[in-house]
């Protein structure tokens, strides 16, 4: 079957990607590419995870920063309390993100459109306020973290984090791709188009939205977990920064949300432009670039990059990998 061929091609691509990333960490000596690359990979994971709820289901979540910050602080709290290794921190962040997704979903997913988006912003503010007043993890002043020793075969912690984030990207993409091609994906697409018609055609809309919110939340929190070790520092106003929400949303929309490759392309394009500009001009220009790109795409290519590549692409979103 062609489905099987697509599967083989996908996993072969994944293997090549991971081997290339691993080889890069062994060959390249300069740490800077990893430092910058980590951020791009992080945005790919965020954008892909965001699009599971925001793209497939059409529920625009503005609370990416809530899930991201919860991921960061789950890792921080766990590390400070038990000195748990990175893998455990990430796994715990995913679990907490999933629980948060369940709670937030249950409270907010009955709202539609802009009301849902506003409610998710409120969630981020509530959690940020809570963390600001939580002494154990440093409160509003933030907390310094001492990285543990790096594990073989890596010779620096940043390189290891780069590889770890690459794995998180693969997990996010594999999950998004699975959902897109499954019954869940078809149900989400149906409810995005018309929620009442979907219900009357047998789609359990609330359940599917909850599942999408939980999966999206778990993946976003997992992608955020290594950030504390990456910066060796965490503070509430950067961990819960609204720019994570805006970036994840902009990257997904610019790439196109009908297919998992859309957010990946959007994040690569926007993420690398931002990295380039931060070095050559200033990090302040980033916001401007993000804004201009978003406007250009909304006007010129409302279906995103993938819409430009194949005009009727959205129609094939149901069945292709």
């Amino acid at each position: 079957m062609s489905n099987r061929r697509h599967n083989i091609a996908f996993w072969a691509g994944v293997a090549v990607f991971l081997v290339a990333v691993l080889a890069m960490t062994q060959i390249v000596r300069n740490e800077y590419p990893f430092f910058a690359g980590y951020v791009i990979l992080q945005f790919i994971a965020l954008a892909v995870a965001w699009s599971i709820l925001g793209g497939y289901a059409g529920y625009v979540n503005f609370g990416t920063n809530a899930f991201f910050g919860v991921g960061v602080y789950t890792a921080v709290a766990l590390f400070k309390a038990t000195g748990a290794p990175l893998v455990v921190q990430i796994a715990a962040a995913a679990v907490v993100g999933m629980l948060l997704g369940f709670a937030v979903g249950l409270l907010t997913l009955r709202m539609r459109g802009i009301f849902f988006s506003i409610a998710t912003i409120a969630v981020a503010i509530i959690i940020e306020t809570f963390v600001m007043n939580w002494r154990f993890v440093g409160g509003a002043a933030g907390i310094q973290l001492q990285r543990p020793a790096v594990m073989a075969p890596f010779d620096s912690y940043v390189k290891m984090l780069f590889f770890v984030q690459a794995i998180l990207v693969v997990i996010a993409v594999a999950v998004a791709r699975y959902i897109q091609n499954s019954r869940i994906g078809r149900g989400l697409q149906a409810l995005r188009d018309d929620e009442l018609a979907a219900e009357c055609t047998g789609v359990p809309t609330l359940k599917l939205k909850l599942v999408a919110c939980m999966i999206s939340g778990a993946l976003i929190s997992a992608a955020g977990a290594p950030a504390a070790m990456y910066l060796q520092y965490a503070d509430p106003s950067s961990a819960f920064n609204l720019s994570y929400s805006v970036s994840a949303l902009a990257m997904s929309l610019i790439g196109g949300t009908a297919h998992w490759i859309g957010p990946v392309l959007g994040a690569i394009l926007l993420g690398s432009t931002q990295q380039l500009l931060s070095v050559t001009i200033s990090s302040e220009v980033n916001v401007l670039v993000l804004g201009i790109m978003l406007v250009l795409f909304v006007v010129g290519a409302p279906k995103g990059i993938i819409g430009l590549l194949r005009p009727r692409y959205r129609l094939r979103a149901g069945g292709k990998p």
Binding site: Q189, L196, E199, T201, G202
Partner: protein, 245 residues
């Protein structure tokens, strides 16, 4: 899993159904039984509660008083998707296609989520429904490129993909030309011949007369006539409701 009705028992029993929106009573104490395999016409002037009634049957609205029993099971409080799985399908007055999908994919939603234990592979099943509806040539077409009559047919086809025991057609012929009306009507009648119970809401009287075994007329949320089509049409109150006095 789904209980089947005892022979002779009604497929759908509606008892003292009342639905009000604020101070406005859209449905007032409606009781009616619909037999298995029946072709049931539902008429009434605009705002008489026809669509509210089928919204209460399909689960889009919940009534304040009364009950809806389907195949012997009380479904008054069930959400719409569980009713669809038990075999209640509907089309919408204003077509509501899944517009980012092709015609075939629209049908696949129902087959994926509501139709249980299909004998054929899903795509074959969807194609056979489309062939019945005369939409086979449009299977791969984006649903937002369809004409009005094709959209109406797709609404019915998507409802059929749920593999319903009860099909509710809400003004499937509104705005169609007379030859198109005949086309859609023939489709509905042929569906009725294979043991699907059909409730048809319609304003086009010839269509109602030709289609229905029984007709119910609503006015201001109440049943004002129920019986054979010509009896209902001859009813004075029905004529008053439609023509005014």
């Amino acid at each position: 899993m789904t209980p089947t009705a005892a022979p002779g028992a009604p497929l759908l029993q509606i008892t003292t159904l009342t639905k009000s929106f604020g101070g406005f009573t859209a449905l007032d104490n409606i009781s009616v039984d619909i037999r298995k395999g029946e072709r049931f016409g539902l008429i009434g002037p605009n705002g008489s509660g026809k669509t509210t009634l089928i919204n209460c049957i399909s689960g889009a609205l919940l009534p304040q008083i009364g009950s809806v029993v389907f195949c012997g099971e009380d479904i008054t409080q069930l959400p719409p998707h569980l009713r669809a799985r038990r075999g209640i399908a509907r089309s919408f007055q204003i077509p509501r296609p899944f517009k980012s999908m092709t015609v075939l994919e629209n049908l696949m939603v129902g087959l994926d989520f509501a139709a249980v234990g299909s004998a054929l592979p899903e795509e074959d099943m969807a194609m056979s429904i489309l062939t019945r509806m005369g939409l086979a040539a449009k299977a791969g077409a984006p649903s937002d490129t369809l004409s009005q009559v094709e959209l109406r047919k797709m609404e019915l086809a998507r409802a059929m993909a749920v593999r319903p025991k009860l099909l509710i057609s809400d003004e499937a012929m509104a705005g169609l030309s007379s030859s198109e009306v005949d086309e859609v009507l023939d489709l509905l009648i042929s569906l009725g011949e294979e043991d699907i119970t059909i409730i048809m809401i319609e304003h086009i009287m010839q269509a109602v007369m030709r289609f229905s075994e029984r007709v119910m007329c609503l006015d201001a949320g109440r049943i004002i006539a129920l019986g054979a089509p010509d009896e209902v049409m001859a009813n004075k109150r029905v004529q008053e409701a439609y023509l005014g006095t």
